[in-house]
C-alpha cells in the first residue's frame, strides 16, 4: 500500500514542474482537462485483483517504481529509425522520441490537401478547433486511473486529421521510440485520429525501444471515424521485455463507418491493452484482430469492448496467443448489444497455444445481449501444438524445430493475413521467424 501511495504522490508532486514547463500548450480548454484529470487521478485508486476488470492482472510490479518524466526532446540517428521502417517502402512516418515529436526524424511525403499528420502539441498550441471538439471526449476518466494520469500530463502525441472525402493511400506510420539509456522513464503519448466523412486512412502505431530495461509507456488513443469513413489501425508493440505498457484505445464509429484494428504484441513485463469501439449510428462494421507472443515471465492482457449501441452493425473479433515458459495471457472480450441494436452481428474468437506446462491463459468472452433479433457467437480454445500435424511434417523429413516454426506460423497466419499491407505483413512475418526459430520458443 505504501508503494502505491508513493507512486501516486510522485506524479502529483511532479505536476507542478510539468505545468511550469508547458508553454503554448496551456490553452484554457485543454488545461482544464489536465487539472480535472489530476483531481480524478488523486481520487481514484489503482486497480487490484479485486476489480473485475483487473482480476487476472496484478499491476503491483509496476507500482514499485518511480518513473521520471522526460522534459527535453532527444535526437536519434536516422539509421536507428530505419530499423523500424517497413521493407524500404516509401511511406509517411512520424517519429516520437520518449513521447516527444521529432520533426527531424519524421518524413512526410506529399499528403492530400488539408490532411494533418503531426504532433498534437502543435495542434493544441494552434488552437485547432478539432481539439476542443474531440480531445478527451471518448476516453472518459471514470474508473480509469491510467487515463486520468495520461490526461493530466497531456503534452504530446500524434494528431491525424483526414478531411471529408480525402483518401490517404499510403499508411501513416507513427514510431514511438523509447530511448532511455538506463533511466526508468515514463512516456505518455496521447493520440487523436479523426477520419472525416467518406475518408480513408491507415494508421500504424508502432512502439519500439532502443534499449532493454524498465520503462513505462502509458498511452491513450482516441479515434473518430465519421460517416462512411474507412479506418485501418495497426498497432505493433515491440518493446523491452522489462517494459510496462498500459494502453487504451477508444473508437467512435459513426454511420456506415468501417474500422479495422490489428494488434501485434511481443509483450513486455506487463502489457495491458484496452481496445473499445462504440457504434454511435447504424451500418457500421468493426474488426478487431490480435496476435500476442509471450515467453519468460511476461504478462499480457487484452481487454476489448465492442459497444453495439445502434442497430445493423457488425463486429468480428479474433485474438490469438502463443505462450511459452511462465508467460501469462488474458483475453477479456466484451460485446455489449444494447436494447436498440437489433440486427446486430457479433462474432468473437480467441485461440491460444501453450508451449510449456507453466504458461497459462485466462480467456473470458462476455456477451451481454439486450436485443432479441441478433446473431452473436463466441469461442475460445487453449491447446498445445497439434502432435498429428507435427508427426506429419516429421514424416516428410522436416525436423522438430522447423516443424514447430511452420505450425506456429500457420497458427499466427489467420491474424497476420488481416494485415493488408504487404510490407507491414512482411515486417511482422520477420519478427515471427526470428522468434520461432529460437530454441526456446
Amino acid at each position: 500500500m505504501e508503494k502505491i501511495r508513493e507512486f501516486k504522490e510522485w506524479f502529483v508532486k511532479h505536476f507542478d514542474d510539468f505545468e511550469k514547463n508547458l508553454n503554448g500548450e496551456k490553452t484554457p480548454e485543454v488545461h482544464k482537462l489536465r487539472k480535472d484529470a489530476l483531481s480524478k487521478f488523486k481520487e481514484l485508486s489503482f486497480p487490484s485483483l479485486k476489480d473485475e476488470e483487473w482480476k487476472y492482472t496484478n499491476i503491483s510490479p509496476l507500482l514499485k517504481y518511480n518513473f521520471s518524466p522526460v522534459s527535453s526532446g532527444k535526437k536519434v540517428s536516422s539509421e536507428l529509425i530505419k530499423k523500424f521502417l517497413f521493407d524500404k517502402m516509401e511511406h509517411n512516418f512520424i517519429v516520437f522520441i520518449n513521447g516527444r515529436f521529432s520533426q527531424e526524424n519524421s518524413k512526410l511525403l506529399a499528403l492530400p490537401k488539408g490532411v494533418i499528420a503531426g504532433s498534437i502539441s502543435d495542434a493544441i498550441k494552434e488552437k485547432n478547433p478539432l481539439i476542443e471538439k474531440h480531445f478527451g471526449k471518448y476516453a472518459n476518466l471514470s474508473d480509469q486511473i491510467f487515463t486520468a494520469l495520461s490526461t493530466a500530463f497531456t503534452k504530446d502525441g500524434a494528431f491525424i486529421y483526414v478531411p471529408e472525402g480525402k483518401v490517404i493511400e499510403e499508411p501513416v506510420h507513427i514510431i514511438f521510440l523509447t530511448s532511455n539509456g538506463n533511466k526508468k522513464i515514463i512516456t505518455q503519448p496521447r493520440n487523436l485520429f479523426i477520419a472525416g466523412k467518406n475518408s480513408r486512412v491507415t494508421i500504424i502505431e508502432h512502439y519500439v525501444t532502443e534499449n532493454k530495461g524498465v520503462y513505462f509507456t502509458n498511452t491513450v488513443t482516441e479515434i473518430v471515424a465519421e460517416e462512411n469513413a474507412v479506418v485501418n489501425h495497426i498497432k505493433l508493440q515491440e518493446e523491452s521485455i522489462e517494459a510496462f505498457h498500459i494502453a487504451r484505445m477508444e473508437v467512435d464509429q459513426e454511420r456506415d463507418s468501417n474500422f479495422t484494428s490489428v494488434l501485434f504484441s511481443n509483450g513486455g513485463n506487463i502489457s495491458r491493452n484496452d481496445f473499445n469501439t462504440h457504434f454511435n449510428d447504424e451500418g457500421g462494421e468493426c474488426k478487431l484482430n490480435g496476435l500476442f507472443l509471450l515467453d519468460d515471465n511476461q504478462l499480457f492482457d487484452a481487454h476489448t469492448l465492442i459497444d453495439h449501441a445502434k442497430p445493423n452493425c457488425s463486429s468480428h473479433e479474433h485474438y490469438r496467443g502463443i505462450l511459452d515458459d511462465n508467460a501469462r495471457g488474458v483475453f477479456n472480450g466484451k460485446v455489449l448489444v444494447r436494447p436498440d441494436a437489433q440486427k446486430t452481428n457479433a462474432f468473437q474468437q480467441n485461440n491460444n497455444i501453450l508451449l510449456s506446462n507453466n504458461a497459462s491463459v485466462d480467456t473470458k468472452p462476455q456477451l451481454e445481449i439486450f436485443a432479441d433479433d441478433v446473431k452473436c457467437s463466441h469461442g475460445a480454445t487453449i491447446g498445445q501444438l497439434d502432435n498429428d500435424a507435427k508427426f506429419y511434417l516429421n514424416s516428410r523429413g522436416i525436423g522438430d524445430e522447423a516443424a514447430k516454426a511452420i505450425l506456429l506460423h500457420a497458427f499466427a497466419s489467420d491474424v497476420i493475413k488481416s494485415v493488408k499491407i504487404n510490407s507491414v505483413r512482411n515486417y511482422i512475418e520477420e519478427i515471427l521467424s526470428k522468434r520461432f526459430n529460437q530454441d526456446d520458443l
Partner: protein, 255 residues
C-alpha cells in the same frame, strides 16, 4: 536387403498390437499387407515411419543396414522412408508448396547439399505434379485443408514423387476413393516404381492390387503375419473374406 523386420512387438497404452512381425523387403519389390480392421496394419505402417505413440517392446527393424528404431521420424524420412497416411493431416495456414520446399531443403541439408532456389524447386515439383494430375493452383492451398478424399490421397502420392523415397509405405491409400481417383493414385505409384526402391501397400481391400501388382502378399491377423504368398493370395482373400481367418485357427492357415 532394404528392410528386415524381426519379431516386432509393439504396444500402445499397455495394449499389445503387434505380436511378432517378421518381414523381409528387397529393393525392386512390392509387398502388400492385407488384413481385417484392427489387425495392426496401420500400427505397423506408423511404427515404421517413426510414430512415437507406440512402444516397441521387442524385436528389431534393420533398414539399409541401420537400426531403424533408433532414428527419429524426420531422419527416417531423410533416409528414404515415406508414409502415405491413411488420414492425411489438415494443416490450415501451411501451403503445400511451403511444406514441400521445407521438406526438400531439410533433406538436402541432412546430406550436406545446398538448398534449392525457388526456380530449381518449382521445376522439380511441376514435373512431379503431372504424375498425379494436379494443377498448379493446388500448390498455394493449405495442406489437405478442404480437400476431397481423392485430393488428399493424390497429394500423398505427389509428396512421395517429390521426396523420391527408397521405401514407400502406402497406408490404406485406396480406401474411400472412387475409381477415377484410384486409377490416378495407382498410376502414380506405378510410375514411381523402380528396381532401386520398394513399396509396402497396406490395404483392407484387394481392389488396389488390380492396379498395382504386388510381388508378395502377406496376411496380417491379430498382430501377426499369418500367411504369405504371391499375388494370387489376394484373390483368395477377396473371394473367401476375412472370416476365413477368423473362423479357422491361424496355425492351420499359416501351415
Amino acid at each position: 536387403m532394404l528392410l528386415e523386420v524381426k519379431n516386432l512387438h509393439t504396444s500402445i497404452e499397455g495394449n499389445e498390437i503387434l505380436k511378432g512381425i517378421n518381414l523381409k523387403v528387397n529393393a525392386g519389390e512390392v509387398h502388400a499387407i492385407m488384413g481385417p480392421n484392427g489387425s495392426g496394419k496401420s500400427t505397423f505402417a506408423q511404427v515404421l515411419a517413426g510414430r512415437e505413440d507406440y512402444n516397441v517392446t521387442a524385436g528389431e527393424v534393420i533398414y539399409k543396414g541401420k537400426n531403424l528404431l533408433e532414428l527419429k521420424a524426420e531422419d527416417r524420412a531423410r533416409e528414404g522412408i515415406f508414409l502415405a497416411f491413411q488420414y492425411p493431416v489438415e494443416i490450415p495456414g501451411v501451403s503445400n508448396v511451403n511444406l514441400l520446399k521445407t521438406a526438400v531443403n531439410e533433406i538436402r541439408k541432412y546430406y550436406g547439399e545446398e538448398e534449392l532456389d525457388a526456380i530449381e524447386f518449382l521445376s522439380l515439383i511441376k514435373d512431379k505434379m503431372k504424375i498425379v494430375e494436379l494443377d498448379e493452383s493446388f500448390l498455394k492451398r493449405s495442406v489437405n485443408e478442404g480437400f476431397s478424399g481423392g485430393e488428399k490421397k493424390r497429394n500423398e502420392i505427389f509428396q512421395m514423387a517429390v521426396l523420391n523415397p527408397k521405401l514407400a509405405i502406402l497406408d490404406e491409400t485406396d480406401s474411400g476413393l472412387d475409381i477415377d481417383a484410384l486409377k490416378i493414385v495407382a498410376n502414380g505409384v506405378n510410375k514411381l516404381r523402380s528396381k532401386d526402391n520398394a513399396t509396402i501397400i497396406v490395404t483392407h481391400y484387394q481392389r488396389l492390387l488390380d492396379y498395382i501388382i504386388p510381388d508378395f502378399v502377406h496376411v496380417l491377423y491379430n498382430g501377426k503375419i499369418v500367411k504369405s504368398g504371391g499375388k494370387e493370395l489376394a484373390f483368395e482373400l477377396e473371394k473367401k473374406g476375412y472370416d476365413w481367418l477368423k473362423n479357422g485357427s491361424p496355425k492351420a492357415i499359416a501351415g
